[in-house]
Amino acid sequence: MSTVILLLVTGLGLGALYFLIASGLSLTYGLMRVLNFAHGIFLTVGGYASWWIAVRLPFGDPWRFLVALLGCLVVGAIVAAAVEIGLIRPLYRRHVEQVLVTVGLALAFTALVQGTFGPDPISYPAPSWTQGVTQLAGANIPNSRLLAIAVAAVVFLVLSAFLRFTRWGLIVRAGVENRAMVAALGIDVQRAFTLVFALGGVAAALAGALGALYFGNIDPERGTATLIFAFIVIVIGGLGSFTGSALAAVVVGLLQQFMNYYASVYWGFSAAGDLSVVLLLAVVLLWRPQGLLGRSVG
């Protein structure tokens, strides 16, 4: 039983990370119809920035972690906005070329990080309480997982409130449906693009910093590796659906965690979770191509 609890929480923790990355992707795609392959670099930026700041601060935890976290969010927002303005905006409406450019950026940036900081994972100075465990129904739950879940829940609520109650949130929700009409109401949709891109960058940077706690280190490849699962999450959840990506992130995280554990215990096959996620994608596509919460067109 305690195993199940542990798997449940760690699965939710994984889902939390996926949600943080997928939410930005979902909104970006829904509003801009851009598939941002470079989204993974925001995660990398978040991880490396928070590490870089943390090791240079003269004081310790908990302030060190919080300051580093705040710093990496700012860096994430700036980098995301820069990418949008410099690379995406000039290619407005040329969707395939936007994809290609983000692919190039992802490759170049990851290589740059590898070249500058080395290809090996770098150990992260995590606050000691995040490395501890909490007793929950007989299971020892790593605190980093609980933190990830809490943060993701807060982000979900904040973004939902943003979408529901603010004017920019209204613009984003309308733009996801029909951005030409939003412009025809006199609204500068480009600014909404930059905003959404920056929000996605912040969420992904957050995932990077939390991932550093989760795995205990930062790694140049983690952004791209997680990105692929984020893609699967948003297709399963329904492209452009914010709540869909949250739901799908939870499902994927749980499935992956449970399958990886049980398959390795019973069959010695530790990647079953990853494969079953792909299988889930295939099943969803066959049964409901628009995704769990996506709108079926036509």
């Binding site: 290609l100 692919v103 990851t110 596509l285 191509p289 996506g294």
Partner: protein, 361 residues
């Protein structure tokens, strides 16, 4: 619209070029700077054969992306199917060559057919991501080494006992070169046929405007699946050639990086043109080979740190090249050549597909 190559002159030109390429193993000629030895030396032939192989695989991807407008991020899956299936059958199960080839051919038809049927349930960006996911699954399988079949991270060396003698040994590299060249000619001819055939015209129509194809009473799904299966099959063939050239399989060929490299090859050469992607594939493979040497060379090592770090990473150059291409040369080499010659019929189709809402088929 892609203009048909004026049949007469272009056919002769293509024939002459391929005849010249076939004659290379007899040419004891050095091109210093480009190659390390004379053209008919095994080392050079090996590199040329690799270039020819990737030229063919790039053409197979061009069929999917350039002609039909289907942006797939998982083409490496079918390429690596050719490599791994043939390797496993020959090495782990000790099959004879012909049955192994036949089985690999079958896999190269069945796999893209099945995965295509599922992936094509969605279109546009969702399709791209689904193809990526399926290819990732293949990559995971290769690394996981189920039943100790794939060799995991180290890969699987090819057991050559069942191969005919003329395919084994450095001295016989010329035969492998000719096989690679034959593969390139085959894919080239098939793509040529595609431009002129009825399915080929429908593919081009699908890329332009899928709705109109439906209105014409045709079923776009069937044609897209045909394109997917055919291009997957051609990639599998390329995988077999690649296996013979390298003498083994490694998991690198299953990665998303290879799918992206194929995309770059096609964009570099000029998506939707006939010879562009072939040139792009050959050029990319050549550069990949040379850059690897360059990045570990003394010239790079002597550069200041901030310059050395990125340039020492081949993927950085690849990524930067992508960005430069898209912004400044979206038509690729074929586009540049077209502009130089001012012949509108050589103009490649701009890489721009208006992404439709994600629709169920």
């Amino acid at each position: 619209m892609l203009r048909q190559p004026r049949s007469g002159r272009s056919t002769v030109a293509a024939f002459v070029i391929f005849a010249l390429l076939a004659a290379i193993p007899f040419v004891d000629f050095e091109i210093p700077g480009l190659f390390n030895g004379p053209l008919n030396e095994p080392g050079t032939l090996q590199l040329l054969a690799l270039c020819a192989t990737f030229a063919g695989v790039a053409l197979s991807y061009n069929l999917l992306f350039g002609y039909t407008g289907l942006l797939s991020f998982g083409h490496a899956l079918y390429f690596s199917t050719g490599i791994y299936v043939a390797d496993i059958l020959l090495t782990r199960y000790h099959w004879a060559l012909l049955p192994a080839l036949a089985a690999t051919f079958a896999a190269g038809i069945v796999l893209p057919f099945v995965f295509g049927a599922v992936s094509l349930r969605v279109s546009g960006i969702a399709f791209a991501m689904v193809t990526l996911a399926f290819a990732q699954a293949g990559s995971i399988l290769a690394l996981e080494n189920p039943g100790r079949l794939t060799g995991g991270e180290e890969g699987l060396g090819l057991d050559v006992t069942n191969l005919p003698n003329f395919l084994i040994g450095v001295v016989n590299t010329r035969y492998l070169y000719w096989i690679a060249l034959a593969y390139l000619v085959l894919t080239f001819v098939i793509c040529w046929w595609a431009v002129n055939s009825r399915p080929g015209k429908v593919w081009l129509a699908i890329r332009e405007n899928e709705r109109r194809v439906e209105v014409m009473g045709l079923n776009p799904f069937a044609f897209k699946l045909l394109a997917f299966t055919l291009s997957g099959f051609l990639a599998t063939l390329g995988g077999i050639v690649y296996l013979l050239l390298l003498g083994g399989a490694t998991p690198e060929v299953t990665t998303a990086n290879l799918s992206l490299a194929l995309l770059l090859m096609v964009v570099l050469g000029g998506a939707g043109t006939l010879w562009g992607p072939a040139l792009g594939g050959a050029l990319y493979e050549y550069l990949d080979f040379r850059l690897l040497k360059l990045s570990s060379s003394s010239e790079i090592a002597s550069l200041p740190g901030w310059l050395r770090a990125p340039l020492a990473e081949p993927l950085f150059i690849l990524g930067a090249l992508f960005i430069v291409l898209v912004f400044f040369f979206p038509g690729g080499i074929a586009g540049i050549a077209g502009r130089l010659r001012r012949r509108p019929r050589q103009q490649p189709i701009p890489v721009d597909v208006e992404v439709p809402p994600e629709v169920a088929q």
